[in-house]
Symmetry: C2
């Protein structure tokens, strides 16, 4: 196993993340660790082509968050971005239902160009993050295409079409990851599984964010055998998702909308389950699964909240 | 010969044009003619790929001018355009010497996407112009790649690198059109040569703008045999180019910097040569070549100037 260029052989922490919630905890971890001690593996099941450009929503949310350029109001996109090009694209006959700011477009243009030159998504991700001053190691889950498709009462919808185009309104009956069976975990991700001292499952959607990552061939088995501490932070608090459609989808899939259900999803790859104080009465149920519950404040509004949660998690390694 | 979709079988006027000067006269002609009576064939020898996007500077100058969106100060680009994406592209490590505004970028993104879907540059040009409300018929000179390369004292430079990147400063010893021998005139251009009643060579650079068009296989021969009136407007006034490096390049190529020299370049495809009042003393030299001189005001500052010159030209058809 070759360590990818610039990636540490033995990072202290491997974090798995999706969109906004994952990026929040990743920022907290980044504030607490030397950059070489943190590898963040990001979902690419939402990647989509818009206007011929390769858009990686979760990778971008992570990059913008870690570089400090992110829009704190929305959680996605860049602070103060404008939408001039998108308006013109609309005039030119393009379908512009997916919001892309002018500065954000630059990211997609650059990514698409570098990919067309033959670089892998991993290489491009490293290059883009370095150019914006992100010193932590961000890796896509895979350099191969995996597409999260939701089977809904309106038919099959790719993730962004469901989430942005249809505002997560259709009823979901199944979530599939098209292409995952033949995809390979990225070199940076594989390297971190082999070398990291601790695994953190960030508070991301279990089906739409961490699901694709964990469905990659061999990943779940290798994480089961992972020797370090495995910590999961619940994205479900008080019987609903903190942000996004995780709770709604859980209900539609016939599952209990509860942090206990999240713990159950991860029971084979979780030693310690971080759950919110609001759910303290459920700690016993988590414990019965053989998982140690850690009841604390998990809502991350300020940067201090993110750092405080990250510190508590990192203290578990000892 | 099939008439391309939307193109008139017998347009009144076929205009050949390059950048800003050509677009000025084309706008004048557009104001005087029903849309179906005007086909404008535009140079694509300057086309370039920036950030993986297909940029057609002369086609865009024409489209922005005819749609009224153009920047009247610079002559190129869109009025009030911003440069947010370009600044971000620079941060992301891209080389951003070529100015591309946010709205302008949308054009290149859309063009690149439509080309990647298998449409020809002609089809894409028609679609973009229609979407911005341009009713005249704008056609690229060819759907094949032709690259204008300047041999200079700094080596071989593609047109945009010479013109924008090096501000037309290097000394030019030769101009070549790479790919022209195997390129085909576009369907819209061929159709107009066959059907038009009048040919207008707009006041564009003879080497960098009209040169590539006239170098396409068969074009010059067919224009020689063109049965209608052939009118050329001099881009050289008072011994210098009105705009751009035409005069400088003429001198470097060892030619006389004079409208007479322009008439000589086109003597086989020009019945009437429109020259500025400043050059009235040279009318006799033009006449000696067997070309009828028309001495008038050729400087087009206001829209009224453009319309006035267009009217005088169109009157020559009778």
């Amino acid at each position: 196993m070759v360590t990818p260029e610039g990636f540490p052989r033995s990072p202290a922490v491997l974090a798995l993340a999706g969109g906004v919630g994952g990026a929040k905890l990743a920022l907290g971890l980044a504030r607490c660790l030397p950059p070489d001690d943190l590898v963040i593996c990001v979902n690419t099941g939402d990647d989509e082509t818009f206007h011929g450009l390769h858009v990686s929503p979760d990778l971008d949310t992570m990059m913008y968050t870690l570089s400090g350029l992110y829009n704190q109001q929305t959680g996605w996109g860049l602070a103060g971005d404008t939408f001039t090009a998108l308006e013109m694209l609309g005039k030119l006959g393009a379908d512009t239902w997916f919001n892309l700011g002018d500065r954000d477009l630059a990211t997609h243009i650059r990514r698409t160009q570098l990919l067309s030159e033959g670089k892998t998504l991993s290489e491009v991700t490293t290059e883009l993050n370095r150019s914006l001053g992100v010193a932590q190691h961000v890796t896509p889950m895979s350099d191969d295409s995996v597409k999260t498709i939701l089977l809904t009462d309106e038919g099959k919808l790719p993730m962004q079409r469901y989430f942005v185009g249809r505002r997560a309104e259709p009823r979901v009956s199944e979530v599939t990851y098209v292409g995952v069976d033949t995809a390979t975990a990225s070199p940076g991700f594989q390297n971190a599984i082999a070398g990291a001292g601790m695994l953190v499952l960030c508070p991301s959607n279990p089906y739409l964010s961490l699901g694709p990552i964990l469905a990659l061939p061999g990943v779940r088995q290798r994480l089961r055998a992972f020797p370090g501490k495995k910590v999961c932070v619940s994205p479900i608090v008080g019987g609903a998702s903190v942000k996004g459609p995780a709770g709604k989808i859980m209900a539609e899939l016939g599952k209990q909308v509860s942090c206990v259900e999240v713990a159950r999803e991860y029971r084979d790859i979780c030693d310690i389950f971080v759950m919110d104080r609001q759910d303290r009465s459920l700690a016993g149920e988590v414990e019965e699964m053989g998982i140690t519950p850690l009841v604390t404040s998990t809502i991350m509004e300020t940067e201090e909240d993110k750092i405080a949660l990250a510190k508590q998690i990192l203290a578990l390694a000892k």
